[in-house]
Assembly symmetry: C2
Amino acid sequence: MNDGVPALQVVAPDGVPAITSSTNLPAVLTPILANLTWPDGSVGITQGDVVVLASKVVSKAEGRLIKAPDREAAIDAETVRLVASRENADGSRLRIVQNRQGIVMAAAGVDSSNTHPGTVLLLPEDPDASARALRRGLAARLGGVRPGVILSDSAGRPWRDGVADLAIGAAGIAVLDDARGRTDDAGRPLEVTVVAVADEIAAAADLLKGPTGGRPLAVVRGMGRVVTHEDGPGARVLNRTGAQDMFALGTREAWERGRAGDPLP
Amino acid sequence: MNDGVPALQVVAPDGVPAITSSTNLPAVLTPILANLTWPDGSVGITQGDVVVLASKVVSKAEGRLIKAPDREAAIDAETVRLVASRENADGSRLRIVQNRQGIVMAAAGVDSSNTHPGTVLLLPEDPDASARALRRGLAARLGGVRPGVILSDSAGRPWRDGVADLAIGAAGIAVLDDARGRTDDAGRPLEVTVVAVADEIAAAADLLKGPTGGRPLAVVRGMGRVVTHEDGPGARVLNRTGAQDMFALGTREAWERGRAGDPLP
C-alpha cells in the first residue's frame, strides 16, 4: 500500500450482459459492482468511487435503439444546429452538429456502428437525468453507497487525430475542478484554472473499455474529492456554446456566410 | 488481486524537486521511479509502465524559462499561424494559434502562470525528441526497463468548458490505438476506430497531478499493450492540421475573410 501518495485504481469488470429496453440497469449492475476486485485486494464499491458507463448501454436500456432506414434523417432529427460538414472519402457526409442534448459532436451522437442494419442508437434524451436515475437506483441497492456516475461517449476533437471519451452525463460529480482563487507555487493567482475533471475521468475509464464496447463499464477509485452528496448540475455545464464559442461554425461554413453577406451567427 | 480483469493503477509520487536548467532529469527521476509504491503493494517501475511528466518540467530542464518583458511578443515568436483570437474580459487578448511544435493551443503554449514576472516558460522545442531523450536516460538507469514516456500539457477544447491534459510529446507509445480492421460485437467493421490513447493516458495522469503543478509526475500501470520497444513517431502524429482540419480558422476570422473576398485558407 502507498498511504498518503495519491493513487487511482480503475477496473473494468466482466459480466455486463447484453442490454435491452427491458433491462433494469441498476439491478444488473449492482452485483457486478458489489463484487468488483481491485488491484489493492479490496472487493466491492465504496463511497468516493465513480461508475463510468458507456452511454450506449444506457441508451439501449432506455429504448433508444430505433428503426431508421435512413441514418441521415435520424441525424437530422437529433440536430439543433449544423456546425460543419464535409464529404468523406466514401461519398458519405460527416456532419458536426449541436444535438438536442446541447453537445457538439459528429452525427449528433447517432450511432450505427454497433447496431443491426436499419437501426440506429440515439443518445439518452437527457443524459444527466439518466445519470441521476442510475445513481439513485444503485444507491438504493448498495446499502448507502452513493457512487459518482458518469455516462461517457467518444468524440472527435478539432486539431487532434483520434477520438477520446467525454462525460456526456454525470451525477454526483463536480465536473469542473475549479482552482480559481488558488495560487500557484509562487503564491500568485493561478491563470489556467478549471479542469474538466469529468472528461478526464471518462478518458481514464475508456483506456480499459476497449473499442468494441465489450467492456462498457469501468469504475474509478481515488477521485473521492470530486464526488458530491448532491447530484449537482451534471455534465451539461461542460457544453460551451453561444457567445463563448469561437468555433460555432466550421471554417468553410463561416467563410461562405461572409462571402454571401450574411451576418455572423 | 484481480487476475484477468483489466485494471489500471496510477500513482503520483512525491519528491520531484524544483527543476532548473542544470537539472539532469533522468538522474532526478530514476530514484523516485525505482521507489514507486503501488496500490497492489508492488514497488518500483516495470516494463509496460508509462511515465507521464508535465511538459513544463522538461521545459525548465531544457532552459526554456526565458526573460520576456512582453508576453505577447513571446507568443508571437512561438506562433506559426493564428487560428482565432478574442478579447478577454480583463482587456488581454486570447490567441489560439498553431505553434512551432505544430500544436494548436492557446497562447502557443507559452506559460506565464507559474513563473516569475518578466519571464515565460516555452514548450520544449521538440517535445517528441525530449520524450525520447528522457526515455533513453531512464532506460540507461533502470536496468533495462524501457517505460513509455508522455509529456503532457493542459489545453482548452472547442465546445467544452475547462481544460484537459493532452500528450504533446511521446516515446515508446502507440499514441493512436487503431481498431481499423477489427469488428464490432455483431462482426461488422467498426466505424469509430482510432482512439487517441496517448491523450487519454495524459488525462488520466492529470487527475492526480493537481492544478498547482505540485505533482508534475504520474506513472500509469496497465497500458502495456500500447508501450512499444521502438520509440515510434511520437505525439506529433496526433496533430491534425491542413486539409483534414475543418477548424483552421475561428468563426469570426473565417467570416471576415469571406466578407473581404479573401480565399479560404
